[in-house]
Amino acid sequence: MIAYSHKSLDNLSIHDEIASALNNHLISKEEAKAIKEKYPVNLYTPNLFIRIGLFLLTVLITFMSLGLLAFLGGSFSEKDLGGLMLFFAIGTYAVLEVIIRQKAHYRSGIDDALLCMSMGFLFASINIIFSFPTPLSESVFVFILSGYCLLRFGNAIMSGIAFISFLAIIFYTVLRLGIQASLILPFLMMGLSFLVYWVTRKVVNNNRLRHYRNCIIVVQVLSLVIFYAAGNYFVVQEFNNEMFATASELGRPVWGAWLFWILTVVIPLTYIFRGLQKKNIILLRTGLVLIAATVFTIRYYYYLASVDIIMTIAGMIMISVAYFVTKLLATPKHGFTQTAPNDPQIIGLRQLESLAIAQTFHDTGADTGEHFQFGGGSTGGGGASEKY
């Protein structure tokens, strides 16, 4: 089903393993070279920066062509534009298939751009031509499109979209049942997410699905997040207000509020605990990130202190935690260490790190108060989800 040559993809993963082993000084340069020659990769994958440039240029060319044809065509009516976009959707997809088959493009920027635009045009044109009224049919359509792209190209983003649209389909279907929906939806969503998580855990190392490993991991992370979000008090309460409350009922706590509060606090802690216990990095990192969401949720409903005090205290707590755990793990304990893994994928992160520091901390001059930019660079990111 997948558009790329199986052999090349397999050899590509071999190359990645070898590069990692070489960086950890496990094998010699000559051995690495010999192995790479024995398992050649025939894919065209340019450097990341070139890839970005090619992506931008491809988008530019396509949109300019669209503009040119629309302009020369004369009429700007909606239906005509929709038809033109449909034509472009098919055209870009055709070009995509051709360059993959003929020139073996793989994550080359050009194929990324063509895929995005093809799907975008298709979605937009169908919407214009048929003007879909219901979110449900939109979800079904998106699910089919993204599911196809996922299977055909192993694209991690498409897998994320497919999962979300799948949940959306269930969501909108249940919504039609009215008031009953508000009661079972959180639990239904949590149940589904848990099921999906369990399935991804089972199949992540399956050999037949080895080319889709990145996609499976993305879905795994998303399922963890959705599981939390479905039980998060803020989400449930606000959703309830949006959908079902009349003006007088607004603000009244939803049924079972206590349950959702417990879930909101307990789930991230469980993730972290299980992550540490099972040495599962995905659980651990997701848990750490979701703690921030929990803090935000608590603060939204219970004003504990002003933002600056909370930030200062939180900052002090985090620095202390980092310091003491680092001290504790100076010699490895229970299989944990605080030293950096020597992975080539991580080397890039170090450079990103210094750029992130420069981005987030810069002085704006002496005549105004200090304004610090938020959005600290996250050097995290699941081990396998760096490249897709």
Binding site: I14, E17, I52, L284, D308, Q338, S354, G369, E370
Partner: protein
């Protein structure tokens, strides 16, 4: 670490005994590293702490005693630098590694608290009066010193940003006598000067080995500022637009050569984007001046389609050329 793969490679005789031994040892002692999680928590912690302190100071300037706040910030600042001074490895003009992962962030904390301190002095006591230039100059000098003394790239970036701010601030008071027409143009020329200065510093650092690894940061800032100033010049001086193509072409060629020397894909991409924007702007203005309504759009779109296609071919070729040595 794929056991199956290495088994297969061993069977095919592609791995030597030494390598097999090392791989097996690695697989036996698999430690779970929480390094990046700890680093992220530390980084976010510092971010939150300094932001929180900044806002706290700003809001409560009236209530808490100024001396107390100033004293606390000073203590934090001095404490950080004392820690760094004690832990640091001996100074050298080559790259000096940090003794532990904590070290870099404490240097950062020290610098940030120092900046907060100076800002506070200025806002509360107007310690520098109206000499805004001086108020930016002192932190800048301190930041440069610290970046070299403790070998910290992040602080260097902050110092360079301060330098840019200082030049912007220092230039404008001179314009009070001039008309507003030239007031913006001074910034453009300041930018050009700054860009050239930074690139010279980069070249000198690398050639004379004065912290050669700082060279990339200097060049990165310098390149971006130079290109942006050139493009700003093109946009601002509409009538003599064509004369700005010369410096643009000049720096494009300079960085093109540099990209080949240091095999930098990043540099190649940046110069391509900037040069493309410059050339496109020039062509579009040309077309707009010498034709009318419909033709402008058609010609413009055609230009973009063909020029973008040409640039794609250019980038693909550059990728091939630069691939032989691999770096950023």
């Amino acid at each position: 670490m794929n056991t199956r793969l290495f088994e297969q490679l061993k069977q095919e005789g592609l791995l030597s005994e030494v390598s097999i031994e090392r791989i097996q040892q690695q697989q036996r002692s698999r430690l779970f590293s929480v390094h990046w999680e700890l680093k992220t928590i530390l980084y976010l912690g510092i971010l939150l702490l300094t932001s929180g302190l900044g806002i706290l100071v700003y809001k409560n300037i009236d209530t808490i005693g100024h001396q107390v706040i100033l004293a606390c910030i000073a203590v934090l600042c001095i404490g950080s630098f004392v820690y760094c001074e004690r832990k640091k490895l001996p100074f050298s003009l080559a790259k000096v590694a940090a003794p532990n992962s904590f070290f870099d962030y404490i240097v950062l904390l020290g610098c940030l608290t120092f900046i907060i301190f100076i800002t506070y002095l200025q806002v509360q006591y107007t310690a520098f009066g109206n000499a805004y230039g001086l108020a930016t100059f002192i932190p800048m000098i301190v930041l440069f010193f610290i970046s070299y003394y403790f070998d910290h790239l992040g602080v260097l970036s902050m110092a360079i940003t301060n330098l840019a701010a200082w030049m912007g601030i220092a230039i404008t008071p001179l314009n009070i006598l001039n008309t507003s027409y030239f007031s913006d143009s001074k910034l453009i020329f300041a930018g050009l000067l700054l860009g050239i200065l930074l690139n010279i510093t980069a070249a000198v650092s690398e050639r004379r080995n004065l912290k050669a690894h700082f060279g990339f940061t200097y060049m990165n800032f310098g390149m971006n500022i130079l290109f942006i100033s050139c493009l700003a010049g093109m946009l601002y001086f509409e009538s003599i637009l064509i004369f700005w193509l010369l410096p643009l072409a000049g720096i494009t060629v300079y960085f093109y050569r540099k990209a080949h020397i240091i095999s930098s894909f990043y540099l190649m991409l940046m110069l391509t984007i900037y040069a493309y924007i410059g050339i496109s702007y020039f062509i579009v203005r040309l077309v707009a001046n010498y034709s009318d309504g419909d033709a402008i759009i058609t010609l413009g779109l055609l230009y973009f389609i063909f020029s973008a296609a040409g640039t794609v071919i250019f980038l693909v070729n550059m990728n091939k050329k630069l691939k032989h040595n691999d770096s950023i």
